[in-house]
């Protein structure tokens, strides 16, 4: 197995220094809007409003600290689902987001890890066919399936339900399949052979011997996928119109004036957007080391 390289810090040459400068610019480009918006969200909205609309600094930059924007956002962020006429507040949308992300990420990671285990550890011809098929689906783009997928769910009579999301994600397509296969192949076959000699069943070998060794990677991929689903409101908006998720709440809040137009004001909108995405930022702070742990991608050769 290749030795992992942990190079010592080297003196940066000209290209290194230039790259460092570019990185600083990139990071400033990230931090500036974040800090600016954070300050805006705590700015008394009338001073902010005047500041921007009249383009004035005539009375000095108008910053008056307040938490009112967050209160207004919390009270106004409500969505009434069209079909059921049920109104959801922020807490309701958080719950939908958690359910949506756990179902989608959980089912997909479970199925992908099981199928990749089978493909990696059982030397059948069919395993090779499955592997090559996944590679081909990654390389051959089939566009326009969204409408058809929605119609298929409608035909099956499960459209708009949590169950439908579980069914949709009960697949193993995607780049992490290849990552999982590589990982399971790297675990020595002697473990399986020894367990078989001791009389262990296939299920026991998978659950008690191989999966625990792959648990770190499985959990990391689950977290990354969980975050992806949490952030994706466009799919949830189409597949689960009855259950608005938190990020859809931000989109709705941005595009629908409420409370006599108060919610169209920038400080309130920024406060609302921050409130809605707070849980995922907390998840990141808790798991950031694990998430940055390094999932790598090899080539895709069929």
């Amino acid at each position: 197995m290749a030795r992992k390289l942990k190079p010592k810090r080297e003196k940066a040459g000209v290209i290194g220094v230039l790259t460092g400068i570019l990185l600083v610019i990139y990071v400033l480009g990230l931090l500036f809007p974040a800090l600016w918006s954070l300050v805006s969200s705590f700015t008394e909205r009338f001073s902010y409003f005047n500041f921007y609309n009249d383009r004035i600094f005539t009375n000095g930059p108008a910053f008056k600290f307040t938490t009112d924007n967050y209160k207004i956002a919390r009270e106004c962020m409500m969505i009434t689902a069209d079909e059921t006429s049920i109104t959801y507040n922020i807490l309701g949308m958080y719950i939908h987001s958690v359910l949506y992300s756990v179902i989608c990420a959980g089912v997909w990671v479970l199925v992908t890890s099981v199928v990749s285990y089978l493909v990696a550890r059982f030397d059948y011809k069919f395993s090779k066919i499955v592997y090559n098929f996944v590679v081909i689906t990654m390389c051959i783009p089939i566009v326009g399936g969204l409408a058809s997928e929605l119609r298929m769910l409608q035909r099956l009579g499960i459209y708009g339900t949590w169950f439908s999301m579980g069914v949709l994600k009960f697949n193993f397509l995607g780049v992490y399949f290849l990552t999982f296969v590589a990982m399971f192949k790297a675990i020595p076959k002697e473990y399986t052979e020894a367990a078989k000699i001791d009389g262990a069943s296939n299920l026991r070998i998978m659950l008690s011997i191989i999966f625990p060794q792959a648990l770190n990677m499985i959990v990391t991929v689950f977290l990354l996928t969980f975050i992806t689903y949490w952030n994706d409101y466009k799919t949830a908006m189409l597949y689960l119109p009855k259950y608005p998720v938190a990020t859809y709440g931000v989109f709705y809040f941005l595009n629908t004036p409420m409370n006599n137009g108060t919610t169209s004001e920038a400080p309130v909108q920024v406060a609302g957007a921050i409130l809605m995405t707070l849980p995922i930022l907390i998840v990141f702070i808790i798991f950031n080391k694990r998430l940055r742990g390094g999932v790598y991608v090899g080539g895709i050769k069929g």
Binding site: P33, L146, N255
Partner: protein, 306 residues
């Protein structure tokens, strides 16, 4: 010495048990695949030659989507603006994004000053929801920057994201945002791939007197090429599906200046069942264009890898 045999089972029984276990776990995902991959794609082809009517539902119509595509899309300037936008955004993200991602990854891999901090910061765009980043960017660039420009230079600058603003500036800003937030994940994957290069190869290069450029050109680059080719191939595959944040910025009211083919495909579906068949037809056309392109590029890249 005899090899120990599993308790109570001969090889034939073991093979049979393996096969039963394999089939039992594989069957449900395969059924799902048949319905939601083969079934859905087959239905997409069918829907491309159907139309939807609120009263009659779906019915066969070979001409309506073809006419819609040729007359309402291809013959309009807006459609070609969308194609151009899709192409330009792909070019920017591939060229600027890939070059920057490799440079940044190499910087982090070499553990130059602040690399840990940069690694943390580069991870943020993958974690923070795109809609939140959009809000922050829209408010800062759309409101904050014009206010400061007026304060410092007395120049009145319109909010570039307002519907009356110059469409070219707005699209450039959205493109910048897409590139700016798009390549961070790529950087981290390249950096992780570099970390897996056998250190003895690097050491051997150093012993032979390889310069940092030679090390980068002859050791690092060939090793990360498979990962780069993954991004190039998946990038082409997403050429027509990626709406490039236009929906986040403009909701359903984007002007022809802002739209991409991915945006059109998505909004056709968002607008309800009347757009489903059109979306399927447009998707079919896009697939017919993309499949040979991806196949050729993949073959070329695989040859490079070999």
């Amino acid at each position: 010495m005899k090899t120990p045999q599993p308790v109570g089972l001969n090889k034939k029984h073991r093979d049979k048990r393996d096969l039963i276990f394999y089939c039992a776990l594989m069957i449900l995902p395969l059924i799902q695949l048949c319905i939601f991959y083969f079934g859905v794609n087959f239905q997409t082809i069918m829907m491309a030659f159907q139309r939807f009517d609120v009263e009659d539902g779906y019915s066969w119509d070979l001409h309506s989507n073809i006419n819609w595509f040729l007359n309402d899309q291809v013959r309009t300037a807006g459609f070609w603006a969308m194609v151009k936008n899709s192409f330009m955004i792909y070019l920017y993200t591939q060229l600027a994004g890939t070059v920057l991602a490799i440079l940044f990854a190499y910087y982090i891999y070499k553990r130059h000053a602040g690399s840990l901090f940069f690694r943390f910061m580069l991870f943020l765009p993958s974690i923070i929801p795109a809609i939140l980043l959009t809000v922050l960017y829209k408010k800062t660039v759309g409101l904050g920057v014009p206010a400061w420009l007026q304060y410092l230079f007395g120049k009145v600058v319109e909010d570039p994201f307002s519907p009356t603003a110059d469409g070219n500036i707005r699209y450039t800003l959205i493109t910048l945002f897409t590139v700016w937030t798009g390549f961070a994940a790529q950087t981290l994957i390249y950096s992780a791939t570099m970390d897996r290069i056998d250190s003895s190869i690097i050491e051997a290069g150093k012993v032979d007197g390889a310069s940092p450029w030679q090390e980068f050109r002859h050791i690092i680059l060939p090793n990360i090429l498979p990962a780069v080719s993954v991004f190039i191939i998946t990038g082409i595959a997403c050429f027509f599906t990626n709406d490039n944040n236009v929906f986040n910025f403009m909701s359903t009211s984007a002007s022809p200046h802002d739209k991409t083919i991915g945006y059109l495909l998505y909004t056709l579906v968002v607008n309800g069942e009347t757009g489903y068949c059109k979306s399927a037809f447009l998707g079919l056309i896009c697939s017919i264009i993309l499949i040979p392109v991806v196949t050729v590029v993949r073959k070329l890249l695989n040859r490079e890898d070999d």
